[in-house]
């Protein structure tokens, strides 16, 4: 066997071996009382955008496509979910302090305007998570209104 073949074979064996290490799933299935929709008014079309483009990384419910069974894809996603949820968890939005809720709404607006969210590595695969101009405007306007309504409640 040539060296190249040996290296390839070794690589394959490693790849096969790591398939058995599956990360835990982030799926709880219920709408929490702390869900963002219970704290501020989230119209259906806004919620739909969040669900398609953000909830996989920013909620307690990730939709898992088939290829997350292939490692290290599943690990990468698990890592993004962990980091993303630390930053912003739509399912636990209601448990944030009023000040943090307002900050998060500002950050949502900023991330959409800057185009930093959803992550580029995600939209490469999830084409429908790529936001159109209209969807971006919809989210930005909503975030502003929601922020003002929280301000007035304080």
């Amino acid at each position: 066997m040539s060296l190249i073949k040996k290296i390839l074979l070794g690589f394959l064996i490693v790849m096969m071996a790591i398939q058995f290490i599956q990360p835990a799933r982030n799926k709880n299935g219920q709408v929490m009382p702390t869900d963002i929709s219970k704290t501020v008014n989230v119209p259906g079309n806004v919620l739909a955008v969040f669900k398609t483009a953000c909830y996989d990384c920013h909620s307690n419910n990730t939709r898992y496509p088939w290829y997350v069974n292939i490692q290290p894809v599943g690990w990468m996603l698990a890592h993004h979910v962990k980091e993303g949820k630390e930053e912003l968890n739509f399912s636990e939005f209601g448990s944030y302090s009023a000040r943090r809720q307002i900050s998060k709404l500002r950050s949502i607006e900023n991330s959409i305007r800057d185009g930093s969210m959803p992550l580029g590595s995600y939209t490469i695969i999830h084409r429908n998570a790529q936001l159109t101009k209209e969807e971006k405007a919809l989210i930005i306007n909503w975030a502003r209104l929601a922020k003002d309504s929280l301000f007035n409640r304080k």
Partner: protein, 189 residues
């Protein structure tokens, strides 16, 4: 065999795609304790929020100078100041204000600390952080001369505020592009 090769190739592509999105943000977490040498006007009076305020002023001055990595270092030193803060001695309005502000402000400082390569993003968080530090100074007193400034142009014309130890306007949101946008809106003592 062919099938596995395909999957292996696919994996590699995904690995590369996922990693390069992160690599820009995850640097520069190494210097939480380093105090930058930027001179801050000291006066005799002390305030419990002194370290937080010192970090904030360093941060503001780094942003005025368009220096993202100094800003990150100052953000990290603010995180350290929040960690060291002894809130067990607080009571009444000070306790209430500190608890209201703490999580939010610390998170902004962390973000600024992690985004040394992205000054635009640092400024977004600095905008929100400035409001938190203002609340702290109001509740605890500044212990030094301090001004609240405001520039109506940042934020797509919605405006933003910041705190400064000097009366002269130097804008941290636009840096060298527009250093003089703003005016003093309040003198805090």
């Amino acid at each position: 065999m062919k099938y596995f090769l395909l999957i292996a190739a696919f994996n590699t592509i995904i690995l590369i795609a996922c990693n390069n999105a992160n690599s820009t943000t995850s640097k520069s977490e190494n210097n939480v304790e380093t105090k930058k040498e930027t001179p801050v006007q000291e006066t005799n009076t002390t305030t419990p929020v002194k370290d937080i305020l010192t970090g904030y002023i360093q941060l503001k001055n780094a942003l005025i100078a368009d220096n993202g990595s100094d800003a990150a270092a100052a953000g990290n030193s603010m995180v350290g100041a929040f960690q060291k803060f002894d809130k067990s001695i607080l009571a009444g309005n000070q306790k209430k204000t500190y608890e209201d502000v703490e999580d939010d402000a610390r998170e902004h400082a962390e973000h600024i600390g992690k985004n040394g390569g992205n000054i635009t993003h640092q400024r977004e968080h600095f905008d929100m952080l400035s409001k938190d530090v203002y609340e702290l100074v109001k509740a605890f007193n500044a212990g030094q001369a301090l001004y609240q400034d405001s520039c109506p142009m940042y934020n797509g014309g919605k405006g933003a505020t910041w705190l400064s130890e000097t009366k002269e306007i130097k804008n941290p949101y636009f840096g060298k592009k527009m250093p003089s946008c703003g005016m003093v809106t309040e003198e805090l003592k």
